[in-house]
Symmetry: C3
Subunit: 306 residues, 3 copies
């Protein structure tokens, strides 16, 4: 594995290997001795969309493995002076950077860069268009494995919210299917559902209450404010009434069900504060697992070419 662009074609064995290694990192105290798998490696955060939380998570993960990290502030860089994405990438690669953490608004940007990359250079997709956010998918799987007593094959997973525009949902769907999950329910306003035939392996359920009934895992997605401006959602209040995860709705799921959210949360829009901060919230564990998963991914990529 030279790059991590998507979970779409990742097989079950590779997924499990990454999750097992991430679990070790999740259990390793940050102040204990760490493997220096990335010693001498320069990691570059090449972010064309701002995302402080994802950048920090990668940065902390890279530091823990002994890497040096530099931040490429794409909003201020020569891309402003008309340099192409390819030239920007080749330039930083020529400086000796080996691991590129790429965030970009356009689907396909990471694929493009991976085609340009030399054999010792690695691309990690840190969120791209509406296409894929594979480390988020992995950290969600790690979280499910930690919280659930059941194997993926027996889980019922409800995904509530803007699946249409969500790279998180796409990566989650790919990973859940690869891990054998057979009951994936999706619920959202029509305008926020994917086009027919675009995605596979899930059932659309019209009513949120029905989607949650006896679910083991409840994943809710962030509602971008742009959806309002674009007229896809009438009002935040109406969205919350129809799709917000509150305590009443959560009580329809299994007694040991838990709630996930990729963050940042809109409290009172897609999730009730009592749920977000409650005993069945896995949200902060997701964040912690993000560091562990990114350590596992970066280590696997760099070891690939040693």
């Amino acid at each position: 594995m030279q790059h991590l662009i998507s979970l779409e074609d990742m097989d079950r064995d590779r997924l499990l290997t990454l999750l097992d290694r991430a679990q070790q990192f999740a259990e390793l105290d940050a102040r204990a001795a760490q493997p220096d798998s990335l010693a001498g490696v320069h990691v570059v955060n090449l972010f064309f969309e701002p995302s402080t939380r994802t950048r920090l998570s990668f940065e902390i993960a890279a530091h823990r493995l002994g890497a040096d990290v530099v931040n490429f502030d794409a909003e201020r860089s020569s891309t402003l002076k008309g340099e192409t994405l390819a030239d920007t990438f080749r330039t930083v690669e020529a400086m000796g950077a080996q691991l590129f953490i790429v965030r970009h608004g356009d689907s396909g940007a990471c694929e493009l860069l991976s085609e340009l990359a030399g054999s010792g250079t690695h691309i990690v997709n840190a969120g791209e268009g509406r296409n894929a956010h594979p480390t988020q998918g992995l950290l969600d799987m790690l979280t499910i494995r930690q919280f659930s007593a059941l194997p993926f094959e027996q889980l019922s997973v409800a995904i509530i919210g803007d699946i249409r525009h969500s790279r998180v949902a796409r990566s989650d769907l790919h990973a859940l299917r690869a891990l054998g999950c057979r009951d994936i329910r999706v619920c959202a306003p029509d305008a926020l559902l994917p086009d027919a035939g675009e995605l596979h392996g899930y059932r659309v359920i019209d009513v949120t209450d029905d989607a949650l009934r006896n679910a083991d895992v409840v994943m809710t997605l962030r509602l971008q404010r742009e959806r309002m401006e674009d007229g896809l959602v009438d009002s935040l209040e109406g969205y919350y009434a129809g799709y917000g995860i509150d305590q009443r709705r959560l009580s329809l799921a299994k007694p040991d069900a838990f709630v996930m959210h990729p963050g940042p949360m809109n409290r009172g829009v897609e999730i009730e504060s009592a749920v977000a901060d409650g005993p069945r919230s896995a949200i902060l564990r997701q964040v912690a697992n993000g560091v562990a998963v990114r350590m596992a991914v970066m280590e696997a990529l760099v070891e690939h070419c040693n």
Copy 2:
């Protein structure tokens, strides 16, 4: 001591312990071997107000103790997307960051975060509202101790300028009183004095010349340009005439008196260049002491929970 939020309740012994340790760091060459008290610790600069100089000082201090440092650019972060301060904090904490250097425009922000923090997480107030800037207070005390032959109990300290809006002045007042200083004189235009009863332990003196007479220490404060816009100060020239520290005024103080300023300076507004750059200026020593004090503080907080 898990957090450093204010000097208001810090007792004399703890203050002196921190100053003693800071003095050791001040004498330790930066290229010599340093204690790795923060090895494996992630320090996060969580700055909601820009302050390059304070951020750099903490960053250099943290590096010298072996920490990894990440910068959270609050102006570009998810706080823009409507995430609450509490969620932002909890998220970065969940990533494994242990030491939060917090700068915020609102008084109370650090207190709020300290209530959310887990037992292994530390908050350092790096300037908050008009409330407190405790590491500035500590570095000022360290500087006074280095420059003055007298103990705090026998010092006459004149603080000239915008005490009303100054978190620096508040932290200095707390520390000076805890260290036993009995002669603290304050001088400013009426609109820049604190409300009656808000602060204690100082005398208001109307005329700058009188405030400086036989003083051992002259602290002058930055005049924010907003004070002009808000009509609290008529003109910069008038302010300088009334409250600027120039060579003539300084000659009224004791022969070995010295001048301090928290920076950045408005030359020709609150201080004359000949004074700022003269032999009785302690201003650059304050900056150097800032690194030493921050090393001592961060070390003390992290060792607290080991």
Copy 3:
């Protein structure tokens, strides 16, 4: 050598010493053990003009030598609050930073800072006004030495483009002359040539084809878009027709001639993509050499005072 401000007065021996050391770094794998020549040194990127690529190159070079790096974001700093350049510099110096990488729009800024600097502080000019960009000059010389079989004394070098406003061209001219190069040809629209008598040691050639004929090295320069806005260039198309380096023009140079560009490139303006990406392009090697040269420079400056 305490500072690196310009190549104007650097003699041949010192230039060759730096290039020899840089060559060693260019051949040293980034993941192999590196000399820790900058251990305990704080390097500050003090950039008053944005330049992500130059900053990254210095940052990677500094990390490889074991330095800690902090970024001073001059656009957001106290310079905005009216602090002078001198005060900003003295403040960061007082924090213990030893190596200042300075980028500034005004010619003379680095000279000014070098006069303020203490004996253990070093200034590296990372691009200043239209005056000098000495590490770019050095990396260009290293690249020429790697690509060319001939000694500098026998080389024909054609510099095409906006020499008038180019600090890169000035540093290249200084270095080429110090290394003995006798055939330096310059070609540009009249408005982009330097004033008569300002620079020395080159011949102006009116027609690009003539300038390239039998050249060993073709250096093309970036055309800033401002030149259009200022009316110095009529159109990008016209500029490309007259001065763009394309395959036909390159065929006029010697068969083993190669093309250099300081980046970022305007493809289709000063250079054809087929040339930029072709087998005779040295452009990415220049970028790689930038890291090696900056390692050599920083090491030499810091060792100077040990």
